[in-house]
Point group: C2
Chain length 332, copies 2
């Protein structure tokens, strides 16, 4: 079956295609009578305007793209879900394209595939950021702040929250605290670690590089690396481990338990993110709540305002909250 076009509707209603277009787009000039005739014809023919043609005329795609390395990990999945819902509600399409090669991204930007981009500064080099500015591609970053006329950010202050977490541990009597980080250069990890180290320094605790574990923010790797760490440091264990995200905290806890030790009896473990699906994980994780739902909504809202020219790029900071559960304890 051929899809109905504006010509079919025009013919059926006995008017020109221009009139059909106006009637269907609520132009005030068309007579109620004509309008009704057009709408009836359109309905009886199951007419839906061709999206592509509208786009070509308007130059708009009504599409928002999310450029990310993955949507499988819980944080990304949650965020993508919230954004997809919000974007759909606002009448836009939601496109996901995963990090691969540079040219792919450039083609998407220059090829007019989207009205707005949601991305991570970490995945985009300077030259492309300049390109986004030059071509005024509306963009919202979600890992760290970039601000320009057409670029905004909705971010979480990982440094400050990382610092608060370590301050909390110190206040609970811990002085030997390990930290599980991701790769160097991963902004959230770097920032949380920086906050952690600053908190230690401010409390007069000397920094010990051997207490930094690289778990890549992945459960599996954190598990393995913590297992090695526990063997290596068996006579000199920390009393607490600050895992840079919840996923690694799980790996850390598994490794500690498997070594015959208890959490928090022998070692306190804290995470970061408060992932919803860990709700019933035992022991309940002391962590920092990162409001993913709020983030998703703010990102979409800010981006659509940029697209519609209602605002300039801004930097929006998300609140975060320390949540104390059973995986950590005071040793004072």
């Amino acid at each position: 079956m051929r899809k109905t076009t504006i010509h079919d509707v025009a013919e059926k209603a006995g008017v020109s295609i221009a009139t059909v277009s106006k009637a269907l787009n609520n132009s005030p000039v068309v007579t109620p009578k004509t309008k009704k005739r057009v709408i009836d014809a359109a309905q009886s023919l199951n007419y839906v305007p061709n999206r592509i043609s509208k786009q070509l005329k308007s130059g708009q795609t009504d599409t928002i793209s999310f450029y990310t390395i993955s949507i499988a990990a819980p944080y990304f999945a949650n965020l993508a879900d919230v954004m997809a819902r919000e974007i759909g509600k606002r009448g836009y399409s939601f496109n996901i394209f995963l990090f691969s090669d540079r040219q792919h991204l450039i083609n998407n930007i220059l090829g007019n595939s989207m009205d707005g981009l949601i991305g991570f500064v970490d995945l985009i080099d300077q030259e492309i950021i300049q390109m986004l500015k030059d071509y005024r591609v509306k963009t919202v970053f979600i890992d760290r702040a970039i601000e320009a006329e057409t670029i905004g950010s909705v971010i979480f202050d990982s440094y400050q929250k990382g610092k608060e977490m370590t301050q909390f541990l110190i206040a609970s009597g811990h002085r030997k605290i390990a930290f599980v980080k991701s790769f160097d250069g991963v902004y959230d990890s770097d920032e949380r670690l920086r906050g952690h180290l600053d908190a230690l320094t401010e409390a007069g605790i000397e920094i010990d590089q051997s207490l930094i574990i690289q778990g890549n923010f992945i459960q599996n790797i954190s598990y393995i690396e913590t297992r090695n760490f526990l063997k290596r440091k068996q006579n000199d264990l920390p009393t607490a481990i600050f895992a840079g995200n919840d996923l690694s905290a799980i790996g850390v806890i598994q490794a500690i338990q498997e070594s015959g030790r208890s959490v928090p009896g022998d070692i306190s473990v804290v995470g970061f993110d408060d992932m919803e699906h860990l709700q019933y994980f035992k022991p309940g994780l002391t962590t920092i709540y990162n409001p993913v739902n709020l983030q998703g909504e703010l990102v979409v809202d800010h981006l659509i305002k940029l697209i519609e020219g209602k605002t300039q790029g801004q930097t929006i900071e998300l609140p975060g909250k320390l949540i104390v559960r059973e995986s950590s304890r005071s040793i004072i």
Copy 2:
């Protein structure tokens, strides 16, 4: 900055736009010399063809849409991730739109938003399925089989696998087995339950409706409902619980442990899906491995073959495998 169009390239290369188009699309008619001139001009101007215009001419959108109720739950997130990766690799765009109202879906189908659709039969009514057939919208379903010239399916035989799981439990000496289902009408849940019940019947075990728990395939709800179930049946507990998916198995295990009982000491618990991020969940879950990666790849491959007219719709069945871990035990 204005984006470069084919006219800019034509001017710079000193040829017509027709020639530019041909040169850039590797038409064999154009002279190597002309071709080089065009390509150089295009490169120096950072030219990327406007996607929308190409689409309007070709009638193709090079876009594949995934229509689902959510991408937050791990299974969906994994599947979406694999599909996004595969779709990107094959040169298509990946669009996600979440289930909302009926008209939204219709607009997407008739409005020419996509070349192919990936969806769930459960989310689409008969009338719309007929519409997909009429307009020859290439579609691949992933929950249950529909086969037509332009419609295929890549499915998991939940009935058979559900049956096998219960047969395994019976072979381990269990005769009183509870089942945690989702809503009636959710195909996977219905099928797994049907397999479970058939296995019981074939083994000569009478069916006891009070052993069916509705956990909605959600961890939280399964936890609460199992808690209630354990209270209600405290003097008449089953020796095993078959949770229709891994997520509910987690909830079930939490509830059992919280009641002071052990898994599998007091009650064996088995799940379904073998979700990757439960890798280190304790006790390791006996479950059925549902090859999500394979499914994602097969779905995309079949859909693109349909789009490119290389095949008719087919029904592809995914293999599944029973994986025995610590959450279940033999009581013989």
